[in-house]
Symmetry: C2
Subunit: 431 residues, 2 copies
Amino acid sequence: MNVDIGNILTDKSQPSLDKHEFEELAERVRVGHERIAEGRENNEFGYAALNLPETVDSDEIRRKTDHFADSDAVLTVGIGGSALGAATITTAVGNDEVEHYVLDNVDPEHTQSVLNSLDLGKTAVHVVSRSGTTAETLATFLVVREAMDDAGVDWTEQTIVTTGDDGPLRTLAETHALPALDVPDNVPGRFSALSTVALVPAAIQDCDIDAFLDGGKEGAESLSPSLSDCPAYAYGAVSYALGQRGADMNVMMPYAERLEPFSEWFAQLWAESLGKDGGGQTPVRALGATDQHSQLQLYRAGPRNKLVTFVRPQETANVTIPETDIDELSYLGGSELGSLLDAEFEATEASLATAGCPNVRIEIEQLNEQSLGRLLYDMEAACILAGELYDVETFTQPAVEWGKRAARGLLGESEFEEAAAIAEKNRHIID
Amino acid sequence: MNVDIGNILTDKSQPSLDKHEFEELAERVRVGHERIAEGRENNEFGYAALNLPETVDSDEIRRKTDHFADSDAVLTVGIGGSALGAATITTAVGNDEVEHYVLDNVDPEHTQSVLNSLDLGKTAVHVVSRSGTTAETLATFLVVREAMDDAGVDWTEQTIVTTGDDGPLRTLAETHALPALDVPDNVPGRFSALSTVALVPAAIQDCDIDAFLDGGKEGAESLSPSLSDCPAYAYGAVSYALGQRGADMNVMMPYAERLEPFSEWFAQLWAESLGKDGGGQTPVRALGATDQHSQLQLYRAGPRNKLVTFVRPQETANVTIPETDIDELSYLGGSELGSLLDAEFEATEASLATAGCPNVRIEIEQLNEQSLGRLLYDMEAACILAGELYDVETFTQPAVEWGKRAARGLLGESEFEEAAAIAEKNRHIID
């Protein structure tokens, strides 16, 4: 993996970094790296995520998922960090033969439609919640379990659980002797992509999870105090520095359809980790080349308030565009679909650069287990480094608690006073 | 459909609108409406979109798609405005029995994987391009056509075309006597959701396209010079006004999984129409309740630079959460999944309001053809009104041309000098 920051170092870029600012940033990276190294050394809360490639027991994951090898489908029931890593891996490098579905919402119509489409007797269900009490996840699991009962399927044969040491899900697993895995210690959900949390569906799909973890190890080895030698830190540092200079948004725009959920995963990582104390870049999800026909007008001609991050596999499959006798299209015929995508990527990057819109290019060789493991590891390291630079509590998400309590209050638990604020809502309805 | 702007009229909201500013805005809406009414009267470029519910010939769409009634699947080949409206409609109110696939990228692996998954002899292909020369669309169509040939399928029996009066796609349709529909006159792609462009796949799925257009008519009838009587203009006006006061982003967050593509559609509408002359709000795609576990931390505790727009159907399907003997979860048992989603919605809205993050609530009764037609129509009217207030050329997208020319230059057409800029790229690679 490499990161090309050339397009933010020119004075054409607004904002940009000059040589002096770059050196100052490099000094701060050195200090940030020391803190991170210390955190990893002591397996501290959050920093422990960067040790996962070494600490995860892939044999255990394979052993516990072996029972599900013949499944037609795998269904993840989880939300946020319990779902996005798994979806990212299976979409990017998974195996189409065993479809991966995710129920990470409580929309009744969607839940029902997914359940109706599945052959439940051949579906492995992976329920994930650290606390075992996440309302959306547990409510959905209760519905899934009932659907299996109704279909005459023994849900205890189809279910695998990943959870913490105690709580309702742990009790459930023990009561029914379900295969169960531990969520990793000291790792917040959004940093758990290189762990049991995300790897169970991948293992059921027979992905090479060791190669994925090898990619993570490669990322771990690449961490170094020098900004100029460490792609992960370089990305985190320049995103932070541009953010401080007016790039309030970070547009994540992979040029690979299979990386679409990666942008969702990145959006959680970036938003929940850095969106605190009145600061933080807003992640914006995009997709190349599709969004050239949707968002590019704004990126190029709108305000200079965003950094665009491209992610691009250097090699893709060969699909030749057939020759055509249509004159206006003859320039396409005989070339590869991938070459067209490449040309569009380079054109879009240059289009933004010439207009002064800052952008960074992240390249991976090709999209496979190893390069994906490296990419996710490096993005996590980039985020943790950015957290050091912003000086925020990277690994917590205190602002979501208010809403959780209010929702529980609305559902009839009387002890939550936040629910009262809802009744006071100021209405001004136009119809 | 109604719009509740109460949460931006309180002085807690940052930014907010006070009474005086609201009155001033109402005066500008009056003027904007006059311009829009005049544009509609003369069926002017762009404004013509607001006449579509009256001008579209739904009988013709049904007649020309009748041949495809027995299809197992429909495949849209188009990009941007030629794809997003169709995806929005079929996902929101479509019929699962006839799956709708969209090829709106030129990713070789994705294209191949979609083609491999289809029974091509039972797939209707809808190719859409106004000019008939859109590179991504035509390249993809050439690949699809060859795949059909290779599978021994007569592609001329499976293909329907929507295009302009001339160009390669029109010629193709004439040569092979394909069923063909006209793109509407004077309507840019991103404003064509209430036309042939988006309705063909919906018709093949046997959606009630007349009810959808009736929803559009209802929207047309609701347009009025008074901000306080017109939900569409109210939404456009307050989004603009908040944007001018620092809400640089507009987060579109429906609480309905089936509205996920709607946010993509809205993102194109808003970005390409208003992202000009150094201004324009950046649309940010989100989904409730899922993104509470991903983006809410940032929205609540990050910078006050965004407006959050909720879209919420008041009624959803009934799915009861089974009773459970698990103590910690007993508050969930017996209630509806939809009630949980509602509680989460209200809690999230209040969570943002109490933290001073401006938000607007758009409500529809339930998600069906008619309410969706109304929603899309009203969002288009909102966008056009916002364009009047920003005083931009709402209906053009000049900034995407540079990249298009550069890409064609890279693909070997010598007359495009933009391609030269790509060779001059400033590189600073960290690996």
